[in-house]
Symmetry: C2
């Protein structure tokens, strides 16, 4: 290991805090957040572990960006504008300078992309796997945010982007499926390695009063939708034919593998798309927003006064995913 | 393992957030901090790992409290009043319910003691050692805090409590030294396992304008003092005969082991006492404060315009700790 803790903080991480005066160049015991008096600070925290949440062999800059982005996705689900983050890295003896440089390059790239700054953290040695914890901060109008317990019967259910790509990418990386089309293969793998938090959408949903209810899809569409229905004490119906699939995912599965594709889309997880509900009168507004953000946003079903979440085929039949080995329900 | 992730968050951790409305019972993607408009939020983050920062065999409630308290000590060093924290726990398959209950009991006890609340976090499985990261939040007057780069020549150097106890406790636990006096042995071990953050002192130093410059002693007195002198571009002299030793530490060492005791006190680390500088005119105020807080506060030396940190014997001789295998300088 050719990176001392001194180097790690002073040479590698401190430059990432340079535009944030109250981080004191990471030389103090802590940093200050001086939030605008009309705002609240949103706080979220996620830990990612080598061999669990990413592969040791993944590019270091992609690992850095994934660690940031799963946190940024939580901020998006609250309708927050990202502002800053702290990072704790538990690393083992085999950490080397090129890896760290690539890791810092990944953080730096996403700092630019999402206008955030590193303001503090910790570095420690571990005899276990590389373990990265990020606490991410965002800003919302004072005391306001998107929640999970505010869905009401009659509302539409919407989801951003496409589903199942990340889960397919993971299956490809694990060698569980193969995909001859190198270009489309890379699209799916990239969706797993570097998810895209839907920050702009979350901010617009909250600030334009389009929705009160959102979360990001990390456990899988139906599992996450069930978090909303349980918290809101409502039910939900999802229409299979409305689910958004990427061309890459459609190309991966043959015609007689449609059910496999559906399963991946609704249970695969790691999508980091925004799932939200909205009154029907906002349909035009949401479609306008999709155009403005150049982001596909699909109406995939509706909230009802039942319990639980149903997935329904075009012909009206229920799809019973439990039979397909899906364990969340 | 008989604790599912569901139980861990909903049954064990959620009750710790009950008095903090904007944590949403840990059911949302994130929590809100709505800081008073006249205040700034202080953020600090520390990771502790089994086998590195605590022993696997340590009582779970003590582990919980140590994880919180090393963070609270950072807040004390900023002069902040603690308010809330997020916790991420990476745990392995051998986690069991009694351990978790004890861990939660430890958190709960310190929540009461320091008036803080759990507001969010993460739980993940690891194939490595138990790894606990806490991000802790405090409150300071807007844009104000104690720093490291504001010491000036002529100022006194002060330290709270006693030094070396925690390092001695660690040596006892590792079997490197033995101590027949069970009661005093327990005092030293407890100082290692459950440090005492000097919250009240930090708040008074900042709010009463007694000091601008403080940090907590975690790497060892001289190493931490050198962080202050480097950041402030000054030097420091520490008088050996002024160093504060506990009765337990004095009992551990025989008369001809004084140098060993000194070494432990100035290089041992993990003291979590507050080290600060103040103008001479505040001596009475600081002694009054010590009485008010029922806390020993010792003037141990002074800041000068040289470079580096010197440790001086009563006869005026320099003590060269480098010869004693001390590697920080």
């Amino acid at each position: 290991m050719d990176v001392s803790e001194f180097d790690l903080i002073d040479s590698c991480f401190a430059p990432l805090s340079k535009d944030y005066e109250e981080a004191y160049g990471l030389k103090n015991d802590a940093a200050l957040i001086s939030e605008h008096p009309d705002s609240s600070t949103v706080v979220t925290m996620d830990t990612l572990i080598a061999g669990v949440h990413f592969f040791n062999s993944d590019p270091a800059d992609d690992i850095a960006r994934k660690c940031l982005r799963v946190n940024l996705s939580d901020l998006a689900a609250m309708g927050a504008k990202p502002t800053a983050y702290t990072l704790s890295m538990a690393y083992s003896d085999d950490l080397n300078a090129p890896w760290v440089k690539s890791f810092v390059r990944g953080l730096d790239a996403d700092q630019q992309e999402f206008s955030i700054r590193l303001i503090g953290g910790d570095t420690v040695k571990t005899h276990g796997p590389l373990t990265i914890t990020i606490t991410c901060f965002g800003s919302v109008p004072r005391h306001r945010c998107l929640k999970r317990n505010t869905a009401t019967p009659g509302q539409d259910i919407w989801v951003s982007g496409t589903l199942g790509d990340s889960a397919a990418g993971l299956q490809i990386l694990k060698g569980e499926v193969s995909f001859d089309n190198q270009e489309l293969r890379d699209v799916l793998v990239h969706r797993y390695q570097v998810p895209m938090p839907r920050i702009g959408l979350g901010i617009c949903l909250l600030n334009d009063n389009i929705s009160n209810t959102a979360m990001d899809v990390s456990d899988g569409l139906l599992a996450d939708l069930s978090h909303i229905t349980k918290a809101s004490k409502v039910g939900a119906t999802v229409l299979e034919q409305k689910l958004p699939y990427s061309n890459a995912l459609k190309a991966l599965f043959s015609k007689n593998e449609t059910l496999k594709m559906v399963e991946l889309a609704v249970t695969g997880g790691d999508d980091y798309e925004l799932l939200f509900t909205a009154d029907k009168l906002y349909r035009k507004k949401i479609n306008d927003l999709a155009r403005k953000l150049s982001l596909k946003i699909s109406c995939i079903g509706s909230i009802n006064s039942d319990k639980g979440v149903s997935l329904i085929e075009e012909n009206g039949n229920h799809i019973h995913l439990s039979k397909m080995g899906w364990k969340h329900f």
